[in-house]
């Protein structure tokens, strides 16, 4: 219940991001937080002329979230970080570290997980540097 917040769904995420970019918003960062049960909230923070705008997305279980890196390249670190720490996978990451950005694969499960998600191997999708 932050000021200037918009609740969005998985399908409207990319459109909303593109619109914000058109409006001249700068990507600040993303915050993931684990809610009760298997729900995870992802907050996207944007800024224009020092005023925030937030998008709030709630995902369930081990859903895959579309990556906003094609729109905001700068988001790649934040998305990779969430992949690492929350076990949520992003689809279409421009640079995908495949959950090795911060953590060794030996750390299992994802540290912010309150339940066990399987570390899904993203072996079928090519890694970032091949693209």
């Amino acid at each position: 219940m932050l000021a200037n917040e918009l609740i969005i769904g998985l399908d409207s995420l990319l459109g909303e991001a593109a619109r914000l970019k058109r409006d001249g918003y700068r990507f600040v960062t993303m915050t993931a937080l684990r809610l009760n049960g298997t729900r995870t909230e992802i907050l996207y923070h944007f800024d224009r002329e020092l005023h925030f705008r937030h998008l709030r997305l709630t995902v369930t279980g081990d859903a895959t979230v579309p990556s906003i890196t094609p729109v905001y390249f700068g988001a790649f670190l934040a998305e990779n970080e969430i992949q690492d720490l929350f076990g949520i996978l992003f689809e279409g990451l421009v640079i995908d570290y495949r959950r090795t950005l911060f953590l060794e694969t030996s750390i299992e499960p994802a540290p912010f997980c309150r339940f066990n998600v399987k570390r899904k191997a993203k072996s079928d999708s090519p890694a970032g540097e091949e693209r």
């Binding site: 570290y97 090795t100 060794e104 540097e129």
Partner: protein
């Protein structure tokens, strides 16, 4: 060293006959009897015989002899008809391959020769027809010894080569026949005093090179062979023009009749310039370098024999032979500048090369350029430098070519990048190659003695000096880069012997040992042979193993001693270091147990690589060749036009 003809003529005649006719006979035998066993014996026997003969020759110099007039006439006719036959063959080759230039050049030569025959001018009878002074002897020694070593090694090489090509029928008989024929022609070329004979042998080497380059009969081989043929035919044309000019306008048809005082006007200097031009073509100087580069498609012994250690030396020989006559003329200055320019330009091109054989080819051009520059300076010091370079370049380059041949057969590549860490795969060959590189660029080895003399001789010519200084620096760069590449890779310090044919080891051993021995013996060699080869005026005095004159001093013996001592010390250090703990090279702490691998993104192992620098943006062939050819053409125009003043 002024012996008049007091020695029994007969011995020298026999030796000369052996030097020219024996390899000819062996070549014919080789071609006719297609037996491996015979060839495997014949070639070494020829080598031993040639070596012995050449060494025997050294106790008889200088000498010259002629023939009975009747015999000479017979030989004249014989040679003329073979000349025409050869030109006919060239014409035929040109027509068959629908080449535009070759027939024209052949016909032009035929026309010139025919014109001379139909409208003969009376010329004084030539006697002698063979003259052997120290310079000729030096060339004979190089051809006979280095050439033989290469031919013998080729026995081993060609076996692998043909196995590699998977030929249905062996073509080695032809190959060795031409190789031996070439040795005969080279010996003839440097011993002949009569200009028409010189031209005859010159043409044979042209044909030989065509045959050898085209040996593998691949499309690339044919193209490059044709290129060699037309460019060398151009040289032949220049030579025949010069020979006929001398004969018709000055009544001169042998080197012995040249007198230094005559060469002061255009009518004398122009044919001399043509002769130099022929030499430049044969030595693949810019802008004629493309045939030498193309010749690298041939089997490596061909490259070694024809295109770097011996055949191109024919061009240098020709220019050195006439060098005393253009001393202190504008022509001499032009030759010096032209040579220095080639030295610099070829070194620059070599820097931009990652094909090992092309590096060798450019290095050859570069060194020949340096010799021409020395010939152009014409001072006793410079001429001494030229002959020393001539000798050591031949031996060293033969060694390097054989090494590259062995490497190529070992790793199937000529790319320097692929030779990275060759030491781990072919340790001994790699070490010998590195040694070869060291012989090329480091004192106290002979080549550097030569370069030292050349630099000291060039110091009076600002433009040449600048080019030589820049060229030397570039030379060091491309050689050191290669040597370092060969040794690079993490090692566990173990030496794994590799297998090579005994002939290869023998050839490499003889050549390396030869360079070391000759380098140590430079002061002695200088007294015995090189000084005489460089002219009448001694440029250096030798005492305590040092070459000395008012300009400078090179203490060869002490430096060789120091080098030997340092070598043994350093080798001991290597043996000692092998006992030390081997650690990974510095990889910022990210190394993995496997050598040369570090942990990269996503915890994946990444092989660390290091590529050489080639500066294609600056030294690439595509970028430089045009400019260099233009510059060389300019200098050539200046050279020929300058004689007309």
């Amino acid at each position: 060293m002024h012996f008049q003809r007091v020695k029994p003529v007969r011995t020298t005649e026999i030796i000369v006959a052996i030097l020219i006719l024996w390899p000819l006979a062996a070549a014919i035998l080789c071609y006719l009897v297609r037996s491996d066993r015979l060839r495997n014996k014949l070639v070494p026997v020829t080598g031993v015989l040639l070596t012995t003969a050449a060494l025997l020759l050294s106790i008889h110099i200088p000498f010259s002899f002629g023939l009975e007039p009747s015999a000479e006439k017979v030989i004249d006719v014989l040679i003329l008809s073979i000349d025409i036959l050869l030109l006919g063959v060239i014409l035929f080759i040109g027509l068959r391959h629908r080449h535009r230039l070759i027939p024209i050049l052949a016909i032009l030569q035929l026309v010139l020769i025919g014109f001379n025959e139909f409208y003969p001018v009376p010329t004084p009878r030539v006697n002698p027809i063979v003259h052997c002074d120290a310079l000729s002897l030096l060339l004979v020694l190089i051809v006979s010894i280095v050439g033989s070593v290469i031919c013998v090694q080729a026995l081993a090489y060609m076996k692998t080569h043909e196995a590699h090509l998977q030929l249905s029928a062996s073509r080695q008989h032809r190959f060795f026949a031409v190789m031996l024929l070439f040795l005969a022609a080279m010996n003839g070329l440097v011993l002949a005093d009569k200009l028409s004979y010189l031209y005859f042998f010159f043409e044979i080497t042209t044909i030989c090179s065509y045959l050898l380059i085209a040996h593998d009969a691949t499309p690339a081989a044919i193209t490059n062979a044709l290129r060699a043929l037309w460019i060398n035919s151009f040289g032949g044309l220049a030579l025949v023009a010069a020979v006929l000019w001398f004969a018709r306008f000055h009544g001169i048809n042998a080197f012995q009749q040249f007198k230094a005082d005559d060469f002061r006007s255009a009518v004398w200097l122009l044919p001399l310039a043509f002769m130099c031009l022929a030499g430049f073509v044969k030595a693949a100087q810019f802008p004629f370098q493309s045939w030498l580069l193309g010749a690298m498609v041939a089997p490596t012994p061909v490259s070694a024999l024809l295109h770097s250690s011996t055949m191109v030396k024919a061009g240098v020989y020709l220019v050195l032979r006439v060098a005393p006559f253009f001393q202190d003329t504008f022509l001499g200055l032009c030759v010096a500048l032209f040579g220095a320019f080639a030295f610099l330009a070829a070194a620059a091109l070599a820097l931009g090369q990652r094909n090992g054989k092309r590096v060798l080819a450019y290095s050859t051009i570069s060194n020949l350029g340096l010799m021409f520059a020395c010939a152009g300076f014409g001072t006793p010091m410079a001429l001494t430098a030229a002959v020393i370079l001539l000798l050591f370049h031949a031996v060293t380059k033969a060694l390097l070519f054989l090494c590259v041949g062995a490497i190529e057969q070992g790793i199937d590549s000529r790319d320097i990048e692929d030779m990275r860490g060759l030491y781990t795969r072919m340790p001994l060959t790699a070490l010998i190659t590195v040694a070869g590189v060291i012989f090329m660029i480091m004192p106290p080895f002979g080549l550097l003695v030569g370069k030292w003399m050349a630099l000291e001789a060039a110091a009076r010519n600002l433009a040449a000096l600048l080019m030589l200084a820049l060229g030397s620096a570039l030379t060091v760069m491309y050689w050191a880069r290669w040597a370092g590449t060969l040794m690079s890779d993490p090692l566990d310090g173990r030496f794994r012997p590799e297998s090579q044919p005994v002939l290869t080891w023998g050839a490499l051993g003889i050549l390396s040992f030869g360079i070391v021995a000759l380098s140590t013996a430079v002061p002695w060699l200088y007294g015995a042979l090189l000084q005489a080869a460089a002219g009448d005026v001694p440029a250096y005095s030798v005492h305590n193993g040092a070459m000395e004159n008012p300009t400078g001093i090179f203490s060869v013996f002490p430096l060789c001693l120091a080098a030997g001592f340092g070598f043994i010390l350093a080798l001991g250090a290597v043996r000692h270091a092998r006992q030390a703990r081997i650690v990974s090279p510095y990889m910022c702490g990210a190394q993995q147990p496997e050598p040369g691998v570090f942990t990269g993104p996503m915890n994946q192992p990444v092989k660390s690589e290091a590529g050489n620098y080639y500066f294609a943006f600056l030294f690439g062939e595509e970028r430089l060749t045009g400019w260099i050819n233009a510059g060389a053409l300019l200098l050539l125009t200046l050279l020929i036009g300058g004689t007309l003043r």
